[in-house]
Amino acid sequence: MTKDNKYISELIYQLADDNFIHSYRGSEWLGLAPHIEEDVAFSSINQDTMGHASMYFELLETLGEGSVDELSHNRKPKDFRNAIILEEANGSGTYLDQPEYDWAFTVIRHLFFGVLKEIRLESLNQSSYEPLIHTSRKIQTEQYYHLMHWKTWFTQLMLSTQEARDKMEQAISRVWRDFGGVISLGKYGKEISDLKLIASEDELRSEWLRRIHQIFDQVGFSIEGNPGMEQGNGRNGEHTEDLTSALNILSEVYHSDIDAVTW
């Protein structure tokens, strides 16, 4: 593997794993979303998002990183490159047992991620690695609706009752504390942007801040400073128990019968 390929893979792991775990957390809401129309919409968004993860895994497969199945189901938590805030559980309990999930947290996490994802895709349109150009263009056609969806939820809840507003503002502070981990390109960030695979971390951050503040302005909210990375940097393999338990559930079927997977 050439040195360039190493950095290309590093970036694609970040893109793949973010979408993979984000889609999984979203899918845990199935049957629990605030209303039936949302259940339909959210499932569709999660299905698309898993499709995006799968497109990135396919790119990794062509780079010789292993098969899509192995990459998605047979890696250790420390090999994952997703940001920590995306792996965090939706709330206490599990989707099977007393799920006390937090909708405000979900809306904010999806909105923040959606805005960054859009910026990353626009940047990937100019990537020096051509397969990323095609992949990002395809994803953009679908992502457009996702972001619109979360902006609608955000605006409606922020301008709803005081209770809703309070929950939303709490969720903003919570996600803000760790969202820096999503913007991060990890320890090879400089090499990744020097190769013009994607814009630099600084550029991604300032564009994200610009768009988020624009959205905040519309509902009379403001926040100071840059988003933090309090729980560590997932890009460098640092993760929480939440990732381990999520991966165990995600890979349960895969590990129960390897032969059946290749059926």
């Binding site: 129309e37 339909v40 569709s44 299905q47 698309d48 799968s54 992949t135 679908e142 609706y145």
Partner: protein
């Protein structure tokens, strides 16, 4: 002896028998999923464009294409290799659905939005039952990845529409 263009015609005819399992009345050619058919001395290569990347029907469609084409070209040249590949380049858009495809969708209560749709512009979607433009978008995300749910204020029918998908970069040359 049959020539290549006859074989190509035969392949397209066969592809017209492959449908989306979630919309069995429309075939993959009408949906605009077939981007390329290439034939040389040893191989038939078929490039398909997925409608939505997370569409669970993709593997079924690919398997169906492979099986039906294999069956068909056995009569021509059994030694030909067949490769079926999904590609994201160019991205599929609703513009690729053929006139005949649009007619079939409409007969099944599914509207096809303006094929010239541009991002950011509002959609012009007509009710497939009464052609009224007085419709309301109920849920962009419908029963499958590629469909939305709407309501006609004129004839009071709920209906579906193909989710308008446009390529932001259609005019950019690579």
């Amino acid at each position: 002896m049959n020539n290549i263009s006859d074989l190509e015609l035969e392949i397209f005819r066969t592809l017209e028998n492959v449908t989306d399992p979630e919309m069995p009345y429309i075939n993959v050619v009408e949906l605009g999923m077939v981007e390329e058919v290439e034939i040389d001395d040893n191989q038939v290569f078929i490039k398909l464009l997925p409608t939505f990347s997370g569409c669970p029907a993709l593997d079924m469609i690919k398997g169906d294409v492979l099986r039906k084409i294999k069956e068909e070209i056995k009569r021509w040249n059994a030694s030909l290799d067949i490769e079926v590949k999904f590609s994201f380049n160019p991205p599929w858009t609703t513009k690729r659905i053929s006139e005949e495809g649009r007619r079939k969708l409409k007969m099944n209560g599914i509207a096809s939005p303006d094929s010239e749709h541009k991002h950011g512009h509002s959609w012009e979607i007509d009710c497939p039952y009464c052609d009224s433009t007085h419709v309301t978008m109920e849920n962009i995300f419908g029963p499958t990845a590629c469909r939305s749910i709407l309501y006609c204020n004129e004839c009071k029918n709920p209906f579906e529409a193909m989710k308008p998908v446009a390529n932001l970069y259609e005019k950019v040359d690579l």
